[in-house]
Amino acid sequence: MSTYVTRRLGQALFVCLGISLITFLLLHVVGDPVLLLLPQDASDADILLLKQKLGLDRPLPTQYLVFLAGALRGDFGESLFTQESVLALILERMPATLELTVAGMLVGLGIAIPLGVVSAIRRGSLVDRLCTVSAVAGQAMPIFWLGIMLIILFAVTFRLLPASGRGTAAHLVLPAITLGAYLAPLTMRLTRSGMLDVLTQDYIRTARAKGVSERVLLFKHALRNAAIPIVTILGVQFGRLLGGAIVTETVFAWPGVASLAVKAIRTYDYPVVQGSVVLLALIIVLANLATDVAVTYLDPRIRLGEERA
C-alpha cells in the first residue's frame, strides 16, 4: 500500500513539474507584460529598465529555474500590479472557489446518483429515457449559457434569487446548480451503467434468491460495487469542475481563484496566472491521488494486486 502511494506521489510531482513548465513557456511565448505595464508613450529605455527590474531580460531557462526554486519554497513571486504575494492572493480567494466546487459537486452527485439508480432499475422505461435525454442535453449545454438562463429565469423574471455575487446561502444556489448540471450527466450515465452491470451479476441473483430485501440489495450490494467507477472518475471530474468554475465564477461574479486568474490573464499579470494554474493543478493532482487511494479501500483487488506485484 505505501509503495503504491509513494509511486503515485512521485507521478504527481512529475505532473506538477510538467504543468509548471508548460504554463511558463506558454505565458512567455504569447505576450509581453512590460508593454501593458507602461504608458503607451513609454520610451525604449523605460521598457528596458522595467524588463531588467522584472528579470525578463534573462534567458528563459534561468527565468524558469528562478520561478521553480521559488515555487518549491512556496514563493510564487509578486503580482506585477499590486506587488502582493501571489500565494497570499490565491489563498485569499481559495475558500470561495472550494465552497463553489464542493457545492457544485454535492448538487451534481445529488442529482446524478438517484437518477442513475432509478434509470438502471427502470431500464427502458419512460423515466429512463427522460433521464438519458436530459443527460445528453445537459452535456451539450454550455455552462455559460445555462448560467445566464438561470439568472434570467430566477433573478430577473421571478426575482426569487440574487443574480450574482457571494454572501448568503441564496447566492450559492444558482452557481451551484450551474456547476452541478455540468457534472451530473456523466456521473448519471456512469451510475446507470455501473448499476446495470452489477445488477446482472451472479451474487445479486444469489442474494435475491436468499430473500435479501430490495433496498439492502440495491444500496448495500449493488450501489457499493457500482460506486467504484464513480469514485474513480470523481478525481477527474474534480478537475473538470474547477475548469467549469472558471466560467461559473465569471458569469456569477463569484470572487474565487478562477476569476482572479481570468483577470490576471487579461492584464497579463503572469506571476498570478502562473501561480493560480500551478496551484489549481496541484489541487487536481491531489484530488486524483485521494480518489485513487479511496478506490484501493473500496476495491481490495487493486491494493492486493499492487502488493503481489
Partner: protein
C-alpha cells in the same frame, strides 16, 4: 506669455453656496455600481486602472477637477493656479478642508503627495507623468509653489489626473503603504468602509464634505466581470449603474422601464494610420497619392451612422473635438470613389493594389464590423485589404513599436486622459517616437514648440498648422471619437461623463 489664472469668482461661490443649501439635508439610500473588474489597490498613486480611478475619485480629491460641461480644468482643492514665471506656478489651496481621519489638508499634503509620486523607491506607475516637476515649495499653510524643469503647458491637465489624489501625510507615514493600500483616507465625498477584494468596495457618504454632502448615503462598487450578468442585475434591481453597455443592448435597457441609457462622447479617437514612411518596409503607401486615394475611398460618416448607430463624432483632423488644439475649420477628404480610382491610376496602380489592414481587440467599439466596412470601401476602389488581427493588445503594441505594422492600421488612441492634442500628435508624428510611422522635419519643430510654450493662442496656431499638414499629406484617415455608454436606474439623476469618470457623488435621487 499670458499668465494662466483660474479664478473662483464671488458669483460662483455664492451660486455654489445656494446649491449646497438647496440639496437634500442628509444623504440617504444605497446605490450599487457594477464594474467589470476590481481595482488592484485603493492607493491612487499605485495603479493606472480605470476602475481604480473611478473608486478613488469618490474617496479622494485632486488639486484641479474637470468641468463636466466644458471639459476644461477647474478649481478644486486648489482654488487658483497662477503662473509666476514660465517655470513657476503658485497654487492657493482651499481652507478648512480635512481628511476623513481629521488630519487637516495643507500645503504640506500637496508637497508630500507630489514627492511621494516622484520618489523612485515608491515605484509609482504614474511617476512618468510628473517628471516635469523640479521642486515643490511650501510658502505657507495654504500656498504652494511648483517649479518645473522647463515651461510646461499641460500642468492644469495633469493636476486633474484621477490618480493624482491628495494624501494625508501623517496617516500614510504612520500606517505605512501596505495598510494605506487597503484602508484609504482622503478628503473626498465618500469615506472608505470596506474592501472585499474581487468582490466589492463599500463607501459611506462624508456628511462634512467641503463641497456639501452627496445625496446617496451608501455607495457600493461591485465587481461583475460578465456584461450579461451586469445587465441582468440592473434589470432585477441588484445594481443601479453600469458602464460599457454594448450598443446592441441599448433597446432592451430602454424598454425595461427600470433603467435608462446615458451616453456621451469620450476622448478615444479611431483612425486609420498608414505607413507613410515605409517604416515596416517599402510599400505603395509612401506615395501621397495612394494615401489620398484611401482617404477618398472610406465613407466615415456612413460607418458612424450604420455601424455605430450614430454613437460617435467625426474627428476630421485626427484629434478629438474635446481636446485642446482641435481646429473645427479642418475639413476631411470628400467621399469620392471615382477620385480615389483616378489617384490610384496616377500613382501607377490602375488595377488596384494589395495591402495589409492591421486590427486589434480591446478598445475600438464593434471593431470587426468597422474593419469589414473599411475593407468593403477599399475593395470598391480596387484596394484589396487583408486583415491581420491582434487578439492580444501586448502583441499589437509590440508590433506597433517594433516597426512591423506595414500597410494600414485601424488604430485608436485614448490620450492617457489628457485633453490636449499633444497627447496624440507627439507620439504619432515626432521623429523617433515609438508610434511614429509618418514624420517630417517641420512637424518635429511644431510639436516641440507646442510642448514648450504655455501661451494657449500660440499653441492653438501650431496645432492648426499641424492638422492642416497631416490632412494635406494624408498620413491618416482620421475617423471619429467614440462614446461611453452607461445604464442607470430610473430612480437616479445621473449622466455619463466624457472623461469616463463616473461621478456618482454628483448623482441625486429623483423625487
Amino acid at each position: 506669455m499670458l499668465p494662466f489664472v483660474i479664478h473662483v469668482s464671488a458669483v460662483l461661490i455664492l451660486a455654489l453656496g445656494l446649491l449646497a443649501g438647496s440639496a437634500d439635508a442628509a444623504p440617504r439610500g444605497r446605490v450599487t455600481v457594477a464594474l467589470g473588474s476590481d481595482t488592484s489597490t485603493q492607493d491612487p498613486h499605485m495603479h493606472t486602472e480605470r476602475m481604480g480611478i473611478i473608486i478613488n475619485q469618490h474617496i479622494f480629491d485632486t488639486l484641479l477637477t474637470r468641468d463636466t460641461k466644458t471639459y476644461k480644468p477647474a478649481p478644486h482643492l486648489a482654488e487658483s493656479v497662477r503662473n509666476l514665471n514660465p517655470t513657476t506656478w503658485e497654487l492657493k489651496l482651499k481652507r478648512g478642508v480635512t481628511f476623513h481621519n481629521g488630519e487637516p489638508f495643507t500645503a504640506e499634503s500637496v508637497k508630500f503627495s507630489i514627492e511621494r509620486v516622484l520618489n523612485p523607491d515608491q515605484k509609482s506607475p504614474i511617476r512618468g507623468n510628473f517628471t516635469w516637476v523640479k521642486a515643490v515649495e511650501v510658502v505657507d499653510d495654504h500656498t504652494v509653489r511648483i517649479a518645473t524643469q522647463k515651461p510646461y503647458p499641460l500642468l492644469h491637465e495633469i493636476l486633474t489626473f484621477g490618480n493624482f489624489a491628495m494624501l494625508p501625510p501623517k496617516y500614510v507615514k504612520e500606517k505605512g503603504d501596505a495598510h494605506f493600500a487597503r484602508n484609504p483616507v482622503g478628503t473626498g465625498p465618500y469615506k472608505f468602509v470596506e474592501w472585499r477584494k474581487g468582490e466589492r468596495t463599500t463607501l459611506e457618504a462624508n456628511a462634512q464634505y467641503w463641497k456639501g454632502a452627496p445625496a446617496i448615503k451608501t455607495l457600493v462598487f461591485r465587481v461583475i466581470p460578465e456584461t450579461a450578468t451586469q445587465i441582468a442585475e440592473l434589470l432585477s434591481g441588484g445594481v443601479d449603474i453600469l458602464r460599457a453597455v454594448p450598443p446592441d443592448q441599448i433597446p432592451a435597457i430602454e424598454r425595461s422601464g427600470v433603467a435608462r441609457v446615458t451616453a456621451t462622447k469620450i476622448l478615444r479617437v479611431v483612425f486609420l494610420q498608414m505607413d507613410g514612411d515605409g517604416r515596416a518596409g517599402p510599400g505603395p503607401l509612401t506615395d501621397v497619392r495612394v494615401r489620398r486615394a484611401i482617404n477618398h475611398a472610406v465613407n466615415v460618416n456612413e460607418i458612424i451612422q450604420k455601424v455605430l448607430g450614430g454613437k460617435a463624432v467625426p474627428a476630421p483632423g485626427g484629434t478629438n473635438p474635446m481636446a485642446f488644439g482641435h481646429d473645427p475649420a479642418i475639413k476631411p477628404y470628400a467621399f469620392n470613389p471615382a477620385q480615389a480610382k483616378k489617384l490610384l491610376a496616377e500613382a501607377g496602380f490602375p488595377n488596384g493594389l494589395d495591402v495589409t489592414l492591421n486590427t486589434y481587440a480591446g478598445s475600438i467599439v464593434s471593431v470587426d464590423q468597422v474593419a469589414q466596412a473599411i475593407m468593403g470601401y477599399l475593395g470598391n476602389v480596387g484596394i484589396r485589404a487583408k486583415v491581420r488581427h491582434f487578439a492580444d493588445v501586448g502583441q499589437y503594441l509590440a508590433n506597433f513599436r517594433g516597426s512591423k505594422l506595414d500597410g494600414i492600421t485601424l488604430a485608436s488612441w485614448g490620450y492617457n486622459s489628457v485633453f490636449d492634442s499633444d497627447a496624440i500628435y507627439y507620439v504619432h508624428f515626432h521623429t523617433k517616437q515609438p508610434y511614429a510611422y509618418n514624420t517630417a522635419a517641420g512637424m518635429d519643430e511644431w510639436l516641440d514648440e507646442a510642448r514648450a510654450t504655455v501661451d494657449p493662442k500660440k499653441r492653438q496656431e501650431l496645432y492648426s498648422r499641424l492638422q492642416r499638414f497631416i490632412v494635406d499629406r494624408a498620413y491618416w484617415v482620421p475617423m471619429y471619437a467614440q462614446y461611453t455608454i452607461e445604464a442607470v436606474t430610473t430612480k437616479l439623476n445621473y449622466e455619463a461623463s466624457g472623461d469616463e469618470i463616473m461621478r456618482i457623488f454628483a448623482a441625486t435621487w429623483r423625487k
